[in-house]
């Protein structure tokens, strides 16, 4: 299958390993990956911070860059949620009805990585090997906006060598929330502290998730605490052999 990759601005810039792993994984499974170079950002930060008008050109860009592809994948439940649930709404509110219609069509063809693997490519065992103790944090937007459900866990359970340990209060927000982490830095830090304590209590050496943004937040906290736990994007684990 020919799959277009939307790397997301965050993975492209700060976490290229997550995007590279997505490419390696899909190619290993026998698919063709294309990366349209005109892509940049889905506009979620603008939308969620209250700059919907400024996001409209970014929505238009996403739609025009990816319209020609049947299947698009992003290694981010958060960006996929925004593309699926916000693009059409924001475009419609800006009076761009045509764009809204195309955006909602495209949203239905844009998948988060675990959804693509299980729902579209129908594979649960991706042939990965990852000999570490891992705990999974189901980021809020993957969980409640994109609704990936237990798909990431199903994929992780098939990974050889991987010891999956349950995260207490897993569904509690890690406190990132985009610009929330800056505008309400203290509250965000208090939420993060509880998440870090929960992660450390599992004894895992790796905390994984489907969103680079939350992992950046959690990883930043673990690093500050000089905790031994590392954060690794789900795609990297699934691409490991």
């Amino acid at each position: 299958m020919r799959i277009a990759l939307f790397a997301t601005c965050l993975a492209d810039t700060l976490f290229p390993e997550a995007a590279k792993a997505t490419v390696r994984l899909l190619e290993r499974l026998g698919h063709e990956v294309v990366f349209p170079l005109e892509q940049t950002c889905c506009g979620q930060m603008h939308i969620n911070t209250g700059y919907q008008r400024d996001a409209v050109p970014l929505i238009r860009r996403y739609v025009s860059v990816f319209s020609g592809y049947d299947v698009i994948v992003a290694p981010s439940g958060s960006c996929v949620g925004s593309i699926r649930h916000q693009h059409a709404l924001v475009a419609a509110r800006a009076g761009a009805a045509g764009l809204a219609a195309r955006a909602s069509e495209l949203g239905a063809r844009t998948y988060e990585l675990s959804e693509l693997l299980i729902d579209v490519l129908e594979v649960e065992d991706v042939g990965a090997y990852y000999p570490h103790t891992v705990t999974y944090h189901p980021t809020c937007h993957s969980l409640r906006m994109t609704r990936v459900g237990d798909k990431p866990l199903r994929l992780l359970r098939q990974v050889r060598g991987l010891d999956l340990v349950e995260l207490p209060a897993a569904e509690q927000c890690c406190g990132f929330g985009g610009t929330f982490a800056i505008k309400n830095a203290e509250t965000s830090a208090a939420m993060l502290a509880d998440k870090l304590t929960a992660i450390e209590s599992t004894g895992a050496s790796v905390c994984t998730a489907g969103d680079a943004s939350c992992l950046m937040h959690i990883g930043g906290g673990l690093s500050r605490r000089e905790s031994g736990v590392r954060t690794v994007h789900l795609a990297e684990i699934l691409a490991a052999t």
Binding site: F35, Q39, C41, M45, P57, G175, N184, T187
Partner: protein, 472 residues
């Protein structure tokens, strides 16, 4: 009387409790530093979350019930004037008197005058968010009338000269030794040997309240529902103190937000299932009191219904935000909210705290007066999933952020970012420049952001993904 309350106007300044003194981040600062408060809140919200989750799981049709509740509320909002007129006609037919209050000032004046006419210098009150919203107690006190809250937690708040911090558990921020102190200093006729044993505290409150119930002739209540087809008002509560208020006095004055009307009796079937399970984690609420106008020889013989707007028409006028009026005040969204759990209710500066407060208060007051509230959320979405009437709070938050005033520097940065991100070549150059940001140091000390408070910055990779792709 006409239902036309004038052009949609927001709740007036200078009266009521919808505005805080400081923006949310500043108000949260104090609460975040209070470990005891955070432990109390965590314990209380975790307990009630668990209880509520268990009884909700018993209902196979919970999701359908939520949709039904949401549909009824949407219908109510689409024909609110008509339903309110119907309610007014039925209440009047049954011997009640209906008053229309455009805002807090009018409502307080109407109620104060009604109490004055009875000659009573004291009123008993059943817990009511609407009267908290308009600061009715303060208005009555200013007129020389003593309001006595009869809900135990509300009484603790009142005697402590405090503000409620939770919709359902107004004194959630107090522990029992604080409550003992409050009773000892402020409760008339209290036993000086009072201990902080919960049954002892409850007994002291009971004794005080019984005396008050039996000697007070006027009561003031809120309403959970007003049924248009029959003119029936309903109050649900757990302690039975509310029922005393609603049945013992001669005069009953009910202040009801105009959004609380429902078309028909059978609508209660839906809400009386949704509310207790989402709210207290009970299958059925212990006391449901309903009354229709005046019944000769039984209960209050003088009944007044004050229909309160106070900004609600303004909320109704915004199709993207109006579903905040669907709220049945169950507090489920507070109990699942990670921000509320850390900051408590006072940080929201309004009688409506938590996620619902973050969307309702700014709409009632006008966004300029509560501009920080729509940002007091990580948009985790737990509130939406918990809400028994399916209010999509995260979407309303995002909508309100778009209407909120923005700091100039932020606006400039966002514009610049959008400009760059719409130009791939410029964007790629900016990504490379980001490497230079490493001079800020991983601890982000060079950055004027709150990020470095508890988090390091990620290492900037040597190569962006697009550069890697191009070099492949």
């Amino acid at each position: 009387m006409s239902t036309f309350l004038g052009m949609p106007a927001t709740a007036p300044r200078g009266v009521g409790h919808l505005r805080g003194d400081e923006p949310f981040p500043a108000a949260a600062h104090t609460a975040l530093a209070n470990d005891q408060l955070r432990r109390n809140l965590r314990h209380a919200t975790t307990t009630i979350r668990g209880k509520s989750g268990r009884v909700i799981a018993e209902l196979p049709d919970w999701q359908e019930l939520r949709s039904a509740g949401s549909a009824i509320k949407a219908d109510v909002m689409s024909r609110l004037p008509e339903l309110l007129e119907e309610l007014e006609a039925r209440v009047t037919e049954r011997g009640g008197v209906v008053h229309w209050a455009a805002d807090a000032n009018q409502a307080n004046a109407i109620v104060t005058e009604l109490v004055r006419r009875t000659g009573s210098e004291r009123v008993i009150k059943v817990k009511s968010m609407a009267t908290q919203e308009i600061a009715l107690n303060e208005a009555l006190e200013a007129a020389g009338i003593q309001p006595v809250e009869t809900d135990l937690a509300e009484l603790i708040v009142q005697l402590g000269n405090d503000q409620p911090s939770h919709i359902l558990v107004p004194a959630i921020h107090r522990n029992r030794s604080e409550i003992r102190e409050i009773f000892l200093t402020a409760m008339p006729g209290v036993d000086p040997g009072l201990t902080d044993d919960p049954p002892v505290l409850a007994a002291a409150a009971r004794k005080y309240l019984r005396e008050t119930f039996l000697s007070t002739k006027v009561a003031i209540s809120g309403a959970n529902f007003g049924i248009a087809e029959t003119g029936t008002l309903a109050v649900v509560e757990s302690e039975g103190n509310g029922r005393m208020c609603l049945t013992l006095p001669d005069t009953l004055i009910t202040v009801m937000g105009i959004e609380k009307v429902v078309p028909a009796w059978r609508d209660l079937e839906v809400f009386l299932q949704l509310l207790p399970r989402a709210s207290t984690g009970e299958r059925m609420n212990p006391y449901t009191t309903m009354w229709t106008g005046v019944t000769p020889g039984d209960g209050p013989q003088d009944f007044h219904l004050v229909l309160l707007d106070n900004g609600r028409s303004a909320v109704l006028a915004d199709p993207a935000g109006r579903s905040a009026l669907h709220c049945i005040r169950c507090s489920a969204c507070l109990n699942v909210c990670p921000v509320y759990e850390r900051t408590g209710g006072h940080a929201y500066g309004s009688v409506y705290p938590g996620p619902i407060g973050a969307v309702l208060s700014p709409q009632l007051t006008g966004i300029e007066d509560n501009a920080s509230l729509p940002f007091a959320s990580s948009l985790c979405g737990a509130c939406f999933d918990a809400c028994p009437v399916r209010i999509d709070i995260p979407s309303i938050l995002v909508h309100l952020r778009n209407r909120a005033p923005h700091p100039k520097s932020e606006r400039a940065a966002m514009r610049a970012a959008a400009y760059t991100m719409d130009r791939p070549k410029l964007y790629a150059r900016a990504q490379r420049a980001a490497k230079l940001a490493r001079i800020a140091g991983r601890r982000g000390r060079g950055l004027p952001l709150g990020w470095n408070r508890a988090r390091d910055l990620p290492e900037i990779p040597a190569q962006t993904f697009r550069d890697w792709w191009a070099s492949r």
